[in-house]
Symmetry: C2
Subunit: 636 residues, 2 copies
């Protein structure tokens, strides 16, 4: 397990938020689900990504600019961002890890050496391409890369107290602030086509207290939707293919954006940045827009897994109810949503944000990583014929280090505080120690979550000012109960936080979240899911994979009765330990369509023999032999 | 109606084909379906496209190169092709059309004036971009544009006998032949990333008899699948994003390509070219590949409408059974398939090719054009929320002139001959007059097809050597009958040609194709269609459109009983005259999902009141107020 090396203070609440998140350093997980994954992250994922960044020339791109190596720029123009995300991921995983610490120092050294005297830093737009700097903010990712450098720097500073990379990031951020802004201020108008930089500037603002970073973040969001677009320089230089400003969320102002549109990752980062700015400025129009976007996403444009982005072209959100089985559902988009929902959760403590965060952690995000920790999905379809497999790396390698940084920073998603309560958002065995207003807190969770819904939360230490625990009761947990020192708590409602009052040091709270298997159906307007059901248990979405079925049965022909009895049992030896679901199903007799895609008539009939159906958690698929998989299963 | 101005001779059969197509000039349609559309094509479509080409700078690009106008190149780098396709479309529609003839002459004059002394002709790669010629055959469409010029030239020559544009095309073709070929011949290896040029060279070969064009066409196909790719010059200059050679069908040799992959239009043109070359060379491996591709397409990768291309990204074929409702189904891909199927049909007279040609004519292709004749679909989804509407033009305007040239050349798809029979592939009222071996033939079709399945074919004139009519009996026409002078013909089987022997001048054949409404289902592995049915009648696919339903009923919630009785009735006043289908259906009660995309449980229930269901031909949708539409309808 990771350990708590110091007892951090929970940062002050932002002016317009209700809650303040308990920092990463305060939380140590010792569960059998996340803690081993964090160990694999440190032992396998991060070292192998470091190696990939070396062998693919990503580090050499910095050496080229600093003059330490003679070589051509290699790879994609935004490859710098992979180095930064990796550095950020390493930073989250640092305490007590000498090898990782050495990697971080090596990367910081290479990055810092490549910075221009004026603070500019981007290895693609250096040397012979220096003249093209800042001309195409829409497509060329300069501000995006800068944002990831800033995030990495803040993470490294938080983890180590060292300003070695923070100083580099601040010089770049200052250069950006000097360059972009209202023409009236003697600057150039600008807006970023991949809005990562906004949330990064907000992190930098919170880390340094420098108000100019907040102002720059607010400016960058407000610059969207300008006519002409602020994303090109000069603004009239937009190329012929720039017909779709929705792709970059540049077609309207933020306050007028009431749905989730365009590139899904950009949309999520954009919303993160806006939520961060809202927390400081309290612009009600922005909050209304954020809530409208969230409703549109969750009620009309999100996969059951929490996957985001129906469309492969543009890696983008689709229209309402456009959710084909071959989802794009980029791993990074789910991660961006988890980040956004953490921010929304601090605004008002609405448990729906934490429910979604949890759904995406266990499903849309986690499917992106192999059990071995060194293979990745970029896209996460909800059905496949057996050709979609995880890869060791990508030309555009945004997802791998994004998964690594999320796993590394997972502890920071578990708890928040307000003036008088600790809020428990996520469940996993482990301990949290931190200072809140009034004094030190220590909480211990004992549970086998997510496989089991019984959670014991022990308040080891708490100040007198702490008067309550706010415990999330997920919307799926029908029949949930909470007991305080063996007394039942009142007002336990699913889809809300159970406010357990009058507790203090020495008290223990028992939460029971029933883990019934649920058969789920989708809005009939979704074509790919009509006439189909899906299996869920707790926060986990299940799928059926060919590896569990006889060769003659294609999982896409399996049909379940909505009334089928489904058994759930933990299997230690299967897929690193899962609760597998087992039931009996029918198999569609497809012979009527042999050699034909369409036929006249043809109501469905079934083979005489039933089939044993095994369902596994969606995140665990594609870790065995290749074959068809589907989340949605025909209903008889 | 268009008229037959001369009685053309059917060209000699190609060596490895069974049939030879009766040329366009031999066929005049006077029906109420196609003939009015051809009139709209001449009166509205072609003039408005000519105007678009002028106002969007497409003609100016030629004037710029010829020095007739000072201006920048405007639009996309392959805009020349739109001019060529428009010229081809005009050529097919010329006889007796003075205004169109003047347009053709004007275009020919502009095009010819822009040609280089060495024969090269492409307005993008001229003047300041001359140095980049022929460096990127994969993406930059130089050979594609050349192909469309050649096709236009042959069409214009066929229509007028003038070589004004044919001479231009031959100079360019000769330049291409001089440039690309085996290194051993002192040439540069080359393969075209958009294989249009291959079928064009084959047209030029047949028009001129010059064997070098055949050899060049064969070479271009054989150059696919080389290592390194023959599509870049130098071959090592492929950029970082060139990871997917399947997109351009460049990952294997043609004989090893046994499925339809990559960009759908390219795939279709590629197959057209290979079929053309096969007809001359008889390479059995190529024929086997063509048949495997065709089977893969029709059995696993084609929409019910005949639409091709499941994927928006790459405008590409998807995997097997990957057919989401938001089809790409580019209009051009359907047209390419119609062209390919015409070629396959000549190889062996298999009626399946003609069935598909007909399906795509009435559905996948025709939906691309508004009833008004001046609005176009690029993509043809099988369901929509109401936002997908036809447009007057596109930045990439490949589809509009492609529709125009297909409508103009439609007569050329109706008949073929072999030594002793005339083959009737398509049905529409009209007359055909041509010379086959042995003498003149005149056939008259009297019918109200496609609304009615009774067709009378009168043999007005025929040589003694003509011993039979081969009449296509579509696979859908269960119960079809054929009568010769009121005697029933034997051996009438659906999905084949009925060989009516012993007929000659003065005989009349009556064909009865039952037009029962069929409820169709798809292979259960197709997610978007599971649990759904679609309505067809004759060759026509139907859809339900919001304009025919009350405001409170979303067509995507309508459900039909597989046993529902469906009435079919011709309605002259509806959508320029259609057979509408009427029945009664149920409406899914969606209230259980209000505000939620997914719910636990939730088998489908229906509103108490039934709804009157009106279905219209798919091609006719989006000609009224915008609203949801779907081809696939829930089955109760």
């Amino acid at each position: 397990m990771n350990t708590i090396v110091s007892v951090p203070k929970v940062p002050a609440k932002r002016p317009f938020n209700r809650l303040s998140p308990v920092p990463l350093k305060a939380v140590a997980l010792s569960d059998s689900f996340w803690a081993p994954r964090q160990q694999v992250n440190r032992d396998v994922t991060l070292p192998s990504q470091y190696e990939q960044c070396e062998t693919t020339g990503r580090v050499d791109n910095f050496r080229r600019v600093s003059g330490r190596k003679e070589c051509e720029f290699s790879g994609i123009f935004f490859n710098d961002s992979d180095i930064y995300k990796l550095l950020e991921a390493i930073a989250y995983s640092l305490p007590g890890e000498a090898k990782l610490s050495a990697m971080a120092d090596a990367l910081i050294d290479e990055v810092g050496a490549a910075q221009d005297a004026n603070g500019y830093l981007n290895t693609y737009f250096s040397l012979e391409r220096k003249g093209d700097r800042w001309t195409n903010l829409k497509d060329m990712h300069e501000l995006y890369c800068a944002g990831h450098l800033i995030e990495a720097a803040v993470a490294h500073f938080d983890a180590t107290g060292s300003t070695s990379i923070l100083d580099v990031a601040r010089r770049l951020a200052d250069h950006i602030c000097d360059t972009f802004g209202p023409v009236a201020d003697g600057k150039r108008e600008g807006a970023c086509g991949h809005e990562e930089v906004v949330l990064a500037l907000m992190s930098l603002y919170r880390a340094t207290g420098e108000a100019r970073y907040l102002e720059q973040a607010r400016y960058f969001i407000a610059a969207h939707g300008a006519t002409p677009s602020a994303m090109y320089w000069p603004s009239t230089s937009a190329p012929w293919w720039d017909f779709n400003r929705r792709y970059h969320q540049d077609h309207v102002k933020f306050e007028d954006l009431h749905d989730v549109v365009g590139h899904a990752v950009r949309m999520m980062y954009y919303a993160c940045g806006a939520a961060d700015v809202y927390a400081e400025t309290g612009d009600a129009r922005w909050l209304a827009a954020l809530k409208a976007q969230w409703s549109n996403m969750t009620e009309r444009r999100m996969y059951l897994t929490g996957g985001l982005g129906a469309r492969w072209e543009g890696e983008a959100f689709g229209d309402d109810w456009e959710l084909p089985e071959r989802a794009y559902a980029e791993t990074c988009a789910a991660i961006g949503s988890i980040m956004w929902n953490k921010r929304m959760l601090q605004v008002d403590g609405d448990s729906r944000y934490a429910d979604l965060m949890e759904l995406q952690l266990y499903n849309a995000m986690l499917a992106g990583l192999s059990l071995s920790g060194d293979q990745y999905f970029y896209q996460n379809p909800l059905a496949d014929g057996g050709t979609h497999r995880r890869q060791a790396w990508f030309g555009c390698a945004c997802c791998p280090p994004n998964i690594a940084r999320l796993l590394g920073s997972l502890g920071g998603y578990f708890y928040s505080v307000d003036q008088e309560a600790v809020w428990v958002h996520l469940f996993a065995q482990g301990v949290a120690r931190f200072e809140m207003d009034g004094g030190a807190v220590e909480l211990r969770q004992s549970t086998n979550y997510p496989w089991d819904g019984d959670i014991r939360i022990e308040i080891v230490e708490a100040p007198a000012s702490m008067k309550a625990l706010q415990i999330r009761i997920p919307a799926w947990a029908k029949g949930a109960t909470v007991q305080v020192n063996d007394r039942p708590a009142e007002d336990v409602a699913v889809g809300s936080y159970a406010c357990v009052q009058g507790v203090g040091a020495g008290d223990a709270v028992r939460v029971h979240l029933p883990m019934e298997v649920r058969m789920v159906t989708a809005d009939p307007r979704v074509f790919a899911t009509a006439g189909k059901v899906s299996l869920m248990r707790g926060p986990m979405v299940y799928c059926i994979e060919q590896a569990d079925f006889p060769a003659g049965v294609d999982v896409r022909d399996v049909a379940l009765s909505p009334a089928a009895k489904v058994d759930a049992r933990f299997e230690q030896e299967t897929l690193a330990g899962i609760v597998a679901l087992r039931t009996s199903g029918k198999v569609i007799d497809r012979s009527a369509w042999d050699g034909a895609l369409y036929r006249d008539g043809g109501s469905v009939s079934y083979a005489a023999a039933n089939v044993d159906v095994v369902a596994i958690p969606f995140y665990a698929w594609a870790n065995r032999e290749a074959g068809p998989m589907t989340v949605w299963i025909h209903a008889t």
